[in-house]
Amino acid sequence: MAETTPQSTPIVTGMDQPGPQAAAPSTMESVAPPNLTQAGAPAYGEPGAATQPSTTVPAGAPAAQPAAPPPHAKLLAMVQGLSEGLSAAATSISTHGREGGAAQVQEMRQSRAAAQQRAMAATQAQKDAETRNKLMTAQTNEINTKNIFNNATLPDEIAKSHLQVSGEKQTQAITGADFQAAHGGMKPEEFSKQLDNTTPLTEQGNSVNPFFLNQGQSVLRAAQTANIPPTNPAVKNLTDVLADPKATAKAVYMATTQMQAEQDRQAKATEQRTKQETAEAGGIVGKLSTPEALAAPGAQAAIQARIDDPNTSVADVTRLRTLLPQAAVAQLNAENIKAREARNQQLVNQGTPETAGRLLADRSLTLTELKSRQVTPKFIADAIVAAQKFDPTYKAAEAEAQGRIAASPANSQFFGNTDSLLVRGGTLDQLGAAYKALGNTEIPVINKLDNLRKAAVGSGPLAAAYAAQLGVADDYSKVMSGGTGSDTSRQQALDIMSVNLSPEARDAAINQIRSAVTSQRNGRVGTNPYMKDMYPDPSRRQETPGQSGTQSAAPRTPPTGVPAGSKLMQVPGGQPHWISPDKIPAAQKLGATEVQ
């Protein structure tokens, strides 16, 4: 009694091939038997009917015979050509050669050819239409057959409940089957029983389903493939449990579930971060914070213009402010590299291979730079020999690689980020000054980046402190992540700063960040001598608001005429000034702090 929906409909005899007159219009209706229903005569196949159908078509008869050419076709063509020629000649004579002649004959022929083409196209269109009609008829017959076959799979009398009740049961069955598929073939009750089993999984001959152990190992391998560090608590827990000879099914299952949840969380966080970083890279801040944009002349003015633009969003304004010192450092680095190039060009132009060799040896000149100075191969070879005289450890290939690495855009960006923090008057100093302006006021803890961005827009020393915090967090994030930064690493920096509320603790936080960044910087410079030359020590440079690039650090000795005991003080965002001792309290009230 099993019923099935036919997987493939049987091919009705004759439906898989065209009828004997498929290529030509059917004329069968003209010779079709009389309407049997009306006449009441027995039909073909019925008792009493003729043994053969009333009409037959000889198999293999050609669908249509090509039309025979008319008699004397050649003669007719000659006569037609002659008459066309005569007509054209007459026209030419009557119009004194303006019309007629060969051109008219040609026109006549073209016109005749076009008419023939139109006739052929019309014939073809008619054939196409006939073919379409035949196809439609055959398809309808097929669909009618399919409908009949589909109906044949149904019970004669069918109720709605026949489909619905079974459907619900099937859904339950599918749910049960899915559970079993995901739990090593165990039914829910069997699975619960296994979880209660206290027999260690690794015990010989235990009755525990191997699913628990296999799934745990599989999830751990997946975590390792996804580069989740072994120090991650979930990974560590699962590793420990799997290594424990007394681990039960429940313990392994719990650890596996925890690991899976951790993986899901990390995947979601990565996805969210990627989306955010993509959006940031395409925004105003993203475009202005590329290494090229920061090092471009006028970058600070462009950033300032965006800050002043009332259409710029609050969040972008605070992040744009942090770009100002970065632009200053990036421009200094660019100018430094440009100055190196100019100096080297001059030395090479005016000097000898010996001079160039000395520059190569002290790493003032890279081999790539030398090659770009339009010197001869002999000059280069002589310079390298000379360099090895000055420094026997000089190796051309190694030096070239070091030089190329030092000048890479990635390093240019990295040192831009570190130096905007470390340079005198940079973001770390700005933060220190902002904290000092607050005195003993406690900074309300703002532990969410978005809230900090909102709080940083405003006036007063507290807003300045928040803005400075944000600037440091942004630079720190870029340094630590080695790239464009992310909100996760910004939040890390914020965590360092926000939890320290006393003035001493604030200083400690700043020092902690300074040490971390300096360490990153020193690590990057390493033993590459070119980096030391291209990216000089930032502590010897001064970031001055409103001025392009950085300048040499301001002398700490007061100029002539400044009263003794005066201090160099600065209001956040303003110029440093020497303040006489009697005016220091008033300046402090305005938020000025001593420049370190």
Binding site: M1, A2, E3, T4, T5, P10, V12, G14, P18, G19, P20, Q21, A22, P25, S26, M28, E29, A32, P33, L36, T37, Y44, G45, E46, P53, T55, V57, N133, K134, L135, M136, T137, T140, N141, I143, N144, T145, K146, N147, I148, F149, N150, N151, A152, T153, L154, P155, D156, E157, I158, A159, S161, H162, L163, S166, G167, K169, Q170, I174, A177
Partner: protein
């Protein structure tokens, strides 16, 4: 509202009305192949193919198959498959207020009502079929040619009929997506009803089961072709 519907019967009635429309509109049949009591469906289909081939083939004739509602009726061997010349059907226009065309459209509506009853009014395939039928209902097909109306009434039934067959098949172990189900044995253990019960015992006592029900793949008797 009836408890059950008989789709085989309503579809057979639709075919009968279409054939009647063609006959009484003056289009001569190309061929008529009657059902034969006890004849397997495959033999009947072969006979239809042969008759069609001798009359221009299945590309030149529109085929309908039905039981005689005024004879022994549906479920018997009293029926036939007829072919009408497609070209002649195309040339014949349905006049205004044609009762035969109205009867064919009404038969189509009745079949769709049965499909709606089983699948629900919001089933997309049924909605589409009803929408297409609604296009011809106001005019009863007046102005259309016989071929186009017949093709419409047959074609619009295809997807909802398929949906019903599929839904019904889905209730059986050998139906669609068998890999997504729990083992058959477990279903039986779970107290699922038997196949006979699932079909509701709708067949009248003494009625022969359909060929498809009797054995998958076995040819069906002609009377079951239209159910």
């Amino acid at each position: 509202m009836p408890e059950t519907v008989n789709l085989k019967k309503s579809y057979s009635a639709l075919n009968e009305k279409i054939a009647k429309l063609y006959d009484e509109s003056g289009v001569r049949r190309s061929f008529t192949v009657p059902y034969v009591e006890g004849q397997p469906m495959a033999d009947h289909v072969a006979a239809v193919g042969q008759a069609a081939q001798q009359n221009g083939g299945l590309t030149a004739n529109l085929v309908t198959s039905a039981h005689h509602s005024d004879g022994k009726g549906w479920g018997s061997g009293d029926g036939h498959t007829v072919g009408h010349p497609a070209e002649k059907l195309r040339q014949t226009i349905i006049p205004k207020d044609d009762e035969r065309a109205k009867a064919a459209i009404d038969a189509a509506q009745k079949h769709i009502n049965g499909l709606k009853f089983l699948l629900g009014d919001d089933e997309p395939t049924v909605q589409t079929a009803q929408g297409q039928l609604n296009l011809v209902k106001p005019t009863s097909g007046a102005g259309m040619n016989l071929f186009d109306l017949g093709v419409l009434l047959i074609n619009i039934m295809h997807t909802p009929t398929q949906a019903v067959a599929r839904a019904h098949s889905g209730t059986k172990p050998g139906g669609h997506s068998p890999n997504r189900r729990a083992p058959v044995q477990e279903e039986a253990q779970g107290g699922q009803e038997t196949q006979e019960t699932a079909q509701g015992g709708a067949e009248a006592p003494g009625e022969a089961p359909t060929a498809a029900q009797a054995a998958p793949g076995a040819p069906a008797a002609p009377e079951q072709a239209q159910g």
